[in-house]
Subunit: 484 residues, 2 copies
C-alpha cells in the first residue's frame, strides 16, 4: 500500500456519515469499532488472520490529496466546512489487533479501533477490504497445505487472481498460510518470499520438437530442471523425452540439482503413477513429480488417498480466489461510544438475523491453553477490564451451546491475550514481522490445534465463550433495545 493514495478507497456512505457527524458537531466523540467475522470460510474450523501490515500502511498513509479534494468538491455533495476539515485529516486514534498468522475464531475482534467517530468511520471499508482478503487466502492456503501432508505447495494463481493486488497480496497471504513460495515475482520482491517457476507449454511449442525444447532447458537450467511433459502426449512423448534428457544429463555429470517433471492436465493419479514407474525403471526414482491442474485441498486429499505419486503441488486458481468461498465475511461494528463525561457507553446492533446481533462494549480476547498439551482449550471474549487468575479454576462454555461446560482446574491452563497495541494516539507502536517469520509463527499457531480442528470437513470446533460480564451486558442491552 506504500506510496499509494487510498484515502478514497472507501464507500461513499462513510464520507456522507462523516459529514453528518461533522455537521452535528459531535465528530470528535470517541467511539470503539470492532472488526470481526461470523463464520469460518470453506467450512474450516478456524481462520488465519492476515493483512495487518498492509492495513498499517494504509492508516499511516491516510490523507486526502489535492486531487482527492477536487474530486469530492466536484460531487456537489459536501459542505465547505467539511471539505476544509478533510484537508488536514489524519488518524489520531488507537488500534489494537491480533497479529498476522494467528489462528482466530468467529466473533473475536481481530481489530479494535478507538478514535473520534469521524476517523473511525473512514477506516471501515479499507480495513475490511484488506483484512478480509488476506485472511481469506491465508485460511485457504492453510487448508491446501494441510491436505498436502507435508509436501511443499507453491502458489501459482496470479493469472486468475482478481486483479494485480489480489495476485500480489493474495500470494503474500498464501505464503503466510503455509505455501513454500509463489510464482509471482512482484510478491517475491515486495515481501522477500521465495519465487518459483520453470517453463510453460509455449517453451516446448517454440522449438521444432519436444526433445529439443527439453534439452535446451536442461542445458540452461540444470540445477532446477522441472520439465513440463503434457504439451503433446504425457506418457508417449513427454515422460520418455524427459527421461532421455535426464539420462543425457546424468551421463554428462550434470544431474546434480533438482530435476523432475510437471503434469498439468489429464488424470493426475494415473499419470503420476505411470510416470513414477517409468522413471524408477530408468533409475530416476528420486525425481520430483509435480502437478498443477485446477487443484484445491479436496482434490489434493483425494489424490493422496488414491496413492498418486506427486510430491510437489502447484496450486493456482482455486487458492488465489478461494474458489469455494471467495469472500471472508468480516464486518466492522460500533461497540461503544463516549458520553459527555468521557465514559464509554456500550452499544449493540440488533437484527432480524440473530447471528447479526453484535457484542457490545470494549472487549479483549483471552486464549486459554492446556498446560500439558499446549493446545488451545477455548477462547474467551471478555470486557477490557476483566482479568483471569490462572491460579483459580475457570469454567468455560461454548457461547453457541451454553450447556456444554468445561471446568479447568487451577494450574492446568495458561492464558494469553490476543489483541496487541498497533497505534496509540495515532502513532505506530508495532513493527510487522517479515512475511516468512509470520509464516513460521502461523505454523506454530496451527500446532496449538488438534488434528481434529484442522480437518477439512466437519472439523472439531474450539469453543469461544463470552465472559459472564459480557453476557450480562449483552442481555441487558438486548432487553433495553427490544422496547425501543
Amino acid at each position: 500500500m506504500k506510496g499509494r493514495n487510498l484515502a478514497l478507497l472507501t464507500d461513499l456512505y462513510e464520507l456522507t456519515m462523516m459529514q453528518g457527524y461533522f455537521t452535528t458537531g459531535a465528530y470528535n466523540k470517541k467511539v470503539v469499532f470492532d472488526l470481526f467475522y461470523r463464520k469460518n470460510p470453506s467450512g474450516n474450523g478456524y481462520a488465519i488472520v492476515a493483512g495487518l501490515a498492509q492495513a498499517i500502511e494504509y492508516v499511516q498513509g491516510l490523507h486526502f490529496t489535492k486531487d482527492d479534494i477536487n474530486y469530492l468538491v466536484s460531487l456537489n455533495m459536501f459542505t465547505e466546512g467539511f471539505i476544509e476539515f478533510l484537508k488536514d485529516f489524519r488518524f489520531t486514534g488507537e488500534i489494537y489487533a491480533i497479529p498476522e498468522g494467528t489462528v482466530v475464531f468467529p466473533y473475536e475482534p481481530l481489530m479494535r479501533v478507538t478514535a473520534p467517530i469521524i476517523e473511525a468511520q473512514l477506516l471501515e471499508t479499507a480495513l475490511l477490504n484488506i483484512i478480509n482478503h488476506q485472511s481469506l487466502i491465508a485460511t485457504k492456503a492453510s487448508r491446501v497445505v494441510w491436505a498436502a501432508e507435508g509436501d511443499p505447495v507453491m502458489e501459482f494463481g496470479l493469472r486468475r487472481a482478481q486483479g494485480p493486488d489480489a495476485g500480489t497480496l493474495g500470494a503474500r497471504a498464501a505464503v503466510i498460510g503455509g505455501c513454500c513460495g509463489t510464482s509471482n515475482v512482484l510478491t517475491g520482491k515486495l515481501f522477500d518470499v521465495p519465487v518459483k517457476g520453470t517453463h510453460a507449454h509455449s517453451w516446448v511449442m517454440s522449438f521444432p520438437n519436444e526433445i529439443t525444447a527439453f534439452r535446451e532447458y536442461a542445458r540452461q537450467f540444470p540445477d532446477n530442471c522441472l520439465l513440463l511433459v503434457d504439451t503433446y502426449n504425457t506418457l508417449e512423448s513427454g515422460v520418455p523425452n524427459a527421461i532421455k534428457v535426464f539420462q543425457e544429463m546424468k551421463a554428462a555429470g550434470k544431474l546434480t540439482g533438482k530435476y523432475g517433471i510437471r503434469l498439468d492436465s489429464g488424470d493426475l493419479a494415473y499419470l503420476s503413477k505411470c510416470a513414477k514407474i517409468m522413471m524408477e525403471e530408468a533409475g530416476f526414482g528420486n525425481a520430483i513429480i509435480s502437478a498443477s491442474s485446477d487443484l484445491d485441498e479436496n482434490l489434493i486429499a483425494s489424490l493422496k488417498s488414491q496413492g498418486a505419486k506427486i510430491n510437489l503441488w502447484g496450486v493456482g486458481t482455486k487458492l488465489i480466489t478461494s474458489d469455494d468461498c471467495p469472500a471472508f465475511g468480516g464486518v466492522y461494528k460500533l461497540a461503544a461510544e463516549e458520553d459527555d463525561n468521557g465514559n464509554f457507553i456500550p452499544k449493540i446492533k440488533l437484527s432480524n438475523n440473530p447471528e447479526k446481533v453484535t457484542n457490545p462494549g470494549i472487549k479483549k480476547v483471552f486464549r486459554i491453553y492446556d498446560k500439558k498439551t499446549k493446545k488451545i482449550k477455548a477462547d474467551l471474549i471478555a470486557l477490557k477490564e476483566e482479568t483471569i487468575d490462572e491460579n483459580q479454576g475457570l469454567t468455560i462454555c461454548d457461547n453457541n451451546a451454553k450447556w456444554r461446560k468445561m471446568h479447568l482446574s487451577p494450574g492446568t491452563y495458561y492464558v494469553k491475550e490476543l489483541l496487541v497495541p498497533i497505534f496509540v494516539d495515532g502513532e505506530l507502536v508495532y513493527q510487522s514481522p517479515k512475511t516468512m517469520d509470520i509464516q513460521a509463527f502461523c505454523s506454530k499457531e496451527k500446532n496449538s490445534l488438534w488434528g481434529e480442528h484442522l480437518r477439512l470437513k466437519n472439523p472439531h470446533i474450539v469453543p469461544v465463550d463470552l465472559s459472564e460480564k459480557l453476557s450480562q451486558l449483552k442481555n441487558r442491552l438486548i432487553d433495553e433495545m427490544s422496547f425501543h
Copy 2:
C-alpha cells in the same frame, strides 16, 4: 495501472523462459499469442470482455526499474547478458483486441499479440490477470442487471473484494456490465462513474435513538434521503420512524428529492411488501425501497418472482467476487511462429483434455448479424487472410456440433470483424472510450442477443464456428503432432 510499476507482476517462469530464448539467440523471432477463454462463467450464455484500458496502461508503462533489476540480480538465476537486455526492455510489437463491453464467446481470441517471443512471453501473466478479472466481474454484473429487469443496480462490494484493485477495477467492470453506480469513491474518481451511498447502522447507533438519527440525516441530506431501517426492528421501529420523518419533511416542504428506505437483513420479500403497504397507507407510495443483503442474480430473480416490492438493488459480495464462479479461465497460447524466411508457421498445443487443444494460426473473428433483427446469428473464427462476401450465401455450423448447420442467404446477413488494432510497432493506436460510454456500448451489445441467450440458466447458445480453412489446418496439425 498508471504510475504503478508492474514489470514484475509476472510468473517467474516467464522470466526464465525469456532468458532461455535470449540465450538460444532466437529471442527476436516473432510469435503470435492468442488470449482466449474456454467456458462462460456462471453458466452464462456469453461473456462481456473488459479490462483493455488497464491492459493498455500496463503495456505502455512496461519497463524494469533499477529496483526491479536489483531484485532479479539478487535471485542468482539470471545471466548478466539477460539482465542487461532487461534494462532497455520495452514492448515493440502489435496487439489486436476486442473492445471492452463487447459480447464474446468461448475460444474467440479476445486479444492477439504479435511480437518478438521474448516480449510476447512477458505479457502473458499480467494481461491474463487484468482481462480475466474485469471480464469476470462485467459478466457477473450483466447477469445481475438482467435479473433486476430494469431496476437500477448499485455495486456495493468494496469491503469484501479481494484487495483494493479487486474493489476498484471490479467496480469499474461492474459499471461496464450495467450497474448504475458504485459505492467505491476511488472508482468514481478514477473512472468518472456515479458514486452512491447514504448511511450505515453505525450512524443510527451513534445517536440516542433511531428517530433522532433519521431526523438528523433527513435534515442534512434531504435530497437523497434513503434511511436504513433494520438497525433495531424493521417493521416495529425502522419503517414507522422513517414514515414519521418523511411526514415531517413533507410538512416542511422538504420532501422534494429522492427518499425511501433500505432493507439490509431479514426476509426481503416479506419485509418489502409490509413496508410498501405501510408507506402507501401513509401516502408515500412512490418511496424508494432498496435492498442489500447478500444479493445475487438468482436471489433477485427469486424476489422478483415473489412480487417483492424492491425497486433499487445494492449488490455487494456476490457481485464483486463473482461468488459462484470467482475466476474467468482466460489463457494465453502460442498460435504461430515466424520461421527463418519470415513466414508465420501455425502452432498447436495438444492435451490429454480435449477442450484444451488450441486453434492454430493467425486468426480473426467475424460476427454475423441477421439483417432484419440485427441480432447475432453466429461468430466465425477464421484465418487472418480470409474474407466473407456478404453477397454470397454462407453456411455456418456450431464447432461443437458440426451437424447443426445454418444456411444464410445472400443479403440476409452482415458481418463485423471484432478484433481492432491497439498497438502497432509498439505504438498505441487506440483510444479507450470513457467507462460510461463503454457501459452504453455494452448495453447495445446485449441488444444484439435474444432474451433466450441472456437467460440466467441453460441459455440458448450462439454458435461459434471455425472456418473451413481453419478447421483443415487444425486437423492437419493434430494429425502431424499425434505422430510426434
